[in-house]
């Protein structure tokens, strides 16, 4: 095609349309463009019947040359017959007076499958074809999507960490008030039964005042560990502030068992805690309330646990009281105030 042979010459057509088929009136392929020859591989198409080489999908019903003639100039969708059923877009135009056709093809939306299946190069496309630019844009898009995905992953992890931090009491590692509100509201909204233990450390202020804040902080951490030891993984432990704790125990609505658990916890808290050569001695009082599932609001169950705690304190500390239970259990470790290492300064015992 170095000289003016004109585009009626097959080599010229090959440059303009590397994916065209020249078909005779008898339906046999006379010539295939170089890219289609590459796709055909070791089963050359020249000489074979067009309808053995490709199958027309849309419009429906193109099964012979007459049918294809009627669709000349219209968009066609077809696919290759063979191991690789590559899909094409196409258009056919009359090539001669005898009834021959030129069918020009492109990959259309099946471009990615086609380059993968046939390992095509930029030179397999007409210089005017936008296929390579489309591949470039697809690759750039994949790269940028990947960057966004990574960024989203980092932001998601950062959000989870920030959320965990926002729900955590940094000193004890237990939940904070925000965690408590969240968990209680969810349990009530879901209508789940749960037990609530409102625990107040006794004589904590005395430790803080006499041995200092470092001792106080240590006591709080030991107390938190004790709570964690007597409860299950699915329970939520909250430091609601100061020396005040809440234990939220899903499914635990048996008052006697909750009192049992609280008494075991109080016994643990009464064990002297060594700190910097000194012994810190505390105790605890617990108020217990249960919700049988959606029967009360969060403020109501909190108020009940609070009321039971008040009753426990009033009855002499070192006790666990279940809301609504008239019988007040005897104080832990014998008579309140006596066996306890530090006398109750307010003298309520």
């Amino acid at each position: 095609m170095t000289r003016a042979a004109g585009v009626t010459d097959a080599a010229g057509f090959d440059v303009l349309m590397p994916m065209h088929l020249r078909v005779g009136a008898d339906g046999r392929v006379i010539h295939a463009g170089p890219t289609l020859r590459r796709i055909a591989g070791d089963r050359p198409v020249a000489g074979r019947a067009l309808f053995d080489v490709v199958e027309f999908r849309r419009p429906r019903g193109i099964a012979d040359m007459a049918g294809l003639w009627r669709r000349a100039g219209q968009p066609l969708v077809l696919h290759w017959r063979g191991p690789c059923r590559t899909q094409f877009k196409g258009v056919a135009v009359p090539a001669d007076r005898e009834g021959g056709l030129i069918l020009n093809l492109s990959f259309g939306i099946a471009l990615v499958d086609a380059i993968r299946d046939h390992d095509l190069k930029a030179g397999d496309f007409a210089p005017t074809d936008l296929a390579v630019e489309m591949l470039y844009v697809l690759e750039a898009k994949a790269t940028i999507l990947d960057e966004w995905r990574k960024l989203n992953g980092r932001l998601h992890s950062a959000r989870l960490a920030a959320e965990a931090q926002a729900y955590t009491d940094t000193l004890t590692g237990l939940g904070n008030r925000r965690a408590m509100d969240h968990v209680l509201e969810r349990l009530v909204a879901d209508g789940q039964a749960f037990g609530l233990v409102h625990l107040d450390l006794d004589f904590f202020k005395a430790v803080n005042d006499t041995l200092g804040h470092a001792a106080g902080d240590h006591v709080l951490q030991v107390a938190a560990q004790a709570m964690s030891d007597v409860t299950r993984a699915e329970d939520t432990l909250v430091r609601a502030g100061g020396d005040e704790f809440l234990l939220i125990l899903p499914g635990q609505v048996d008052g006697a068992r909750l009192r049992d658990l609280s008494e075991r916890l109080i016994a643990r808290l009464q064990q002297p805690i060594p700190f910097a050569g000194e012994m810190c001695r505390i105790s605890g009082s617990a108020g217990i309330a249960v919700s049988h599932g959606g029967d009360m609001t969060v403020p109501v169950i909190l108020a009940r646990a609070d009321e039971a705690l008040y009753a426990a304190k009033a009855a002499g500390r070192g006790r666990a009281v279940v809301y609504g239970d008239r019988r007040v259990a005897p104080a832990m470790a014998g008579a309140a105030g006596q066996a306890l290492p530090r006398p109750d300064p307010a003298g309520t015992a």
Partner: protein, 199 residues
């Protein structure tokens, strides 16, 4: 400056000199220690501080740092995708160089807010194998990055070339490219279907 540019410089320092060097550089330049996000846009002053810090921490001249950056961008496996995107520019090194005019437009197809230098390819009269590229950007120095990229891409294509950064003439940096042989070696293979297209 687009985060992609800042992140490219960060990855170049980290992958070439190690994480400790990057941290020293970040402290020196008052940069985010955790590095840059590729999809954010940062103040231009941050990039300037980073380059100044790179020159001081790496103890190498600015031009060398920039050229090494260019080499890194098209050769390190961590940034393979950039090498691939550039190779879409042409089937041979000569075609690629002639497509440099289109580089900012190509980049904009992918990321409209990525502001790349304007490149102009000027053929040298009467010499088929020689041309000059003008690189225009508000900041001088990209020409050296381009030299590093072109040198490495020439190997990638298997071409033997001479490259010369001719300096700054007021509005552009000029690079002279002489192609000694377009097919000197086999180069590195390039397939249109990248890993993203594989099932």
């Amino acid at each position: 400056m687009h985060g992609l540019v800042n992140r490219a410089i960060q990855c170049f320092v980290r992958d070439t000199y190690g994480a400790a060097t990057w941290e020293a550089l970040a402290r020196e330049g008052d940069l985010p220690l955790a590095g840059f996000e590729a999809m954010f846009v940062y103040d231009d002053a941050v990039t300037d501080r980073m380059l100044d810090a790179a020159v001081s921490v790496l103890g190498r001249p600015r031009d060398t740092v920039l050229e090494d950056l260019g080499t890194y961008l098209v050769s390190h496996p961590n940034v393979e995708t950039l090498r691939r995107l550039l190779r879409f520019g042409g089937e041979t090194f000569e075609e690629f160089v002639e497509s440099l005019d289109d580089l900012p437009r190509r980049a904009a197809l992918a990321l409209p807010e990525l502001d790349l230098p304007a490149l102009e390819v000027v053929p040298e009269d009467g010499r088929d194998t020689e041309l000059r590229v003008a690189c225009r950007w508000p900041r001088a120095g990209f020409g050296h990055v381009l030299v590093g990229m072109l040198r490495t891409l020439a190997d990638d294509y298997g071409a033997l070339v001479l490259l010369d950064h001719e300096g700054w003439d007021g509005d552009a940096e000029w690079i002279r490219i002489t192609v000694m042989s377009g097919a000197f070696s086999t180069g590195r293979p390039f397939r249109l279907a990248g890993s993203w297209a594989l099932p």
